[in-house]
Symmetry: C2
Subunit: 332 residues, 2 copies
């Protein structure tokens, strides 16, 4: 297969000239242009987007970095992001960080080397936040704060936590548990944690007992959730309300029904995220639903703007979660 | 940022020479090598993997093409594939085909142009199968037959269909429904369809009434499944067994419980795929479980071998599904 070098050699010009002919940008003498064109045809050269991008320092690729693409929230986010990126002419590269330590440094290097044009970053960071301070390249954070140079797309989690608390209060809960992600050593602040603070505060304000149990976040290991759910009902047989994310709440519902608890009479459940498949349980779980497709759309629009050299207007784009009433609470 | 061209110009050599110095492959005079090295340091040039790959016609990227990455089966497949690809030093590009018509042609072009090194193809094809006949590039098919040049990784669906049928027979079903994906116009044969033929055949052999209902495949539109499930129980109130994939079976279970049917006493359910999250329902659904992580591993090993110029030994690598007994059948 002919390369851009073969074409340059055949036409007796530099690769830069071939590149200018291919892109139509920059000055090339008409006679030279025709000679290059003839060589392209003679050698049956397929214009190589990668070569073209190389000369323009563009890869046409956006990296989407998430903990695990199999996790329902991130599966739905990546799905939506890929669709919008595709419409805008970009390819989507994914990277799971859950099992990989050095991904972050690696992808920042790829960005510096222009192997990817931008990064949508939806995972925990293990790097010193200062490293991000000196980067002026297209990065958009999903739901975490990577310093003042990097815009963040997220949901108003304060309101989300409030909604969850109020729904359990309306349902008459007196003794609730919420599941909170374990804080990692170097973890940056993520807006998502605010919901737990608000939830606890609201409960305390109403004199309701509220325990916070810390679990791994976000794993797709189902038996991990099942074990925690089983222990929960053994350790705290008297709880009457649980607030957690989708897979954890599904596991609690399963365990509660196995233990012949009545939901919602004995135990009220409310979930956070409200990903697609959780709508298929029986009883249907009351959910604070994150607008995942819109989060993806905003993140993509923002990254494409940054790639095109625009600067962002708002450091934080905050969308609203909504309450989807189900059959595991009685707030209605 | 310095480019390989800047280095070449500074060292007064061709880009090819710089490339040979970077890669350590091919002959370069020691004096020239030192001059190039000095220019690299002087210009603070970061060896650009993209440039390096360009000269070796490698991108380091594998495209994984699936209908929708949010679909539980494909989410789990892509998750596992990314992990193994990452271990082997490859980046993973994903492409959802569900909403996109021209993806296939586009990715084949990318492969021809070496923008990706290989494709793992897990979606329906809309191209004439003959187009694949003339391709001798690294492509691995997941669960579909793309002609003799392209190896296929799949599960023994014949055995899978048989297992499902026998479990419903052992549970005493007399009147069953299976859900089958709608055949698309230009669809190539996929081994997965065999399970439905075997299922129906086995039922007929035992004198059991067996209906096949055709549905869209594979969508992540939950209300689509819910509507079909609701209609199923209205149209066929007397059925006592259902065989389908995970989301469809979850919807049938939900609808059945809403209609106060007893599962498994009145209605037996068995699902195909057995993705992670389906283990969180109550009652737990009996499943024919596909070894998704192993499918991904085999597909990745195969594509890497093909990229390294090895030819494949077997046109078809067939793994075994296993029956995971749950509480929606009574075969045990």
């Amino acid at each position: 297969m002919a390369t851009i070098q073969d074409v340059a050699k055949h036409a007796q010009v530099g690769v830069g000239t071939v590149s200018r002919v291919l892109s139509g940008k920059g000055y090339v003498k008409e006679e030279t242009r025709q000679r290059v064109q003839a060589s392209i045809e003679k050698l049956n050269y397929t214009p190589n987007e990668m070569a073209r991008n190389l000369f323009f320092h563009k890869s046409g690729i956006i990296a989407v970095i998430v903990p695990e693409v199999a996790h329902p929230f991130f599966a739905q986010f990546v799905n939506a992001a890929e669709m919008v990126l595709c419409e805008k002419g970009y390819q989507t590269m994914i990277c799971n960080t859950y099992y990989e330590q050095n991904y972050e440094q690696r992808y920042l290097e790829m960005l510096k080397q222009r192997r990817v044009d931008g990064i949508i970053f939806g995972a925990h960071t293990v790097l010193d936040i200062l490293q991000y301070k000196n980067i002026h390249l297209p990065i958009v954070a999903l739901d975490r704060d990577l310093g003042e140079n990097i815009p963040c797309v997220c949901v108003n989690h304060k309101m989300g936590g409030q909604m969850a608390a109020e729904e359990l209060l309306r349902s008459g809960c007196q003794n609730v548990v919420q599941f909170v992600g374990i804080k990692e050593e170097k973890e940056v602040s993520t807006p998502a944690n605010v919901r737990h603070e608000v939830f606890e505060e609201t409960m305390r304000k109403h004199g309701i007992l509220c325990r916070s149990i810390h679990i791994k976040w976000p794993t797709v290991d189902i038996s991990y959730y099942q074990n925690i759910a089983a222990r929960l009902l053994e350790d705290y047989p008297d709880i009457d309300g649980v607030f957690a994310t989708d897979l954890m709440v599904m596991a609690v519902l399963q365990s509660a029904l196995q233990h012949r608890k009545r939901v919602p009479e004995d135990l009220k459940l409310i979930t956070y995220d409200g990903t697609n498949n959780i709508a298929l349980t029986y009883p249907q779980i009351t959910a604070v639903v994150q607008p995942i497709e819109r989060l993806a759309k905003e993140a993509v629009h923002l990254i494409v703007d940054l790639i095109h050299g625009k600067s962002f207007q708002n450091k934080k784009i905050e969308l609203q979660a909504v309450l989807r009433p189900g059959d595991t609470t009685m707030g209605g």
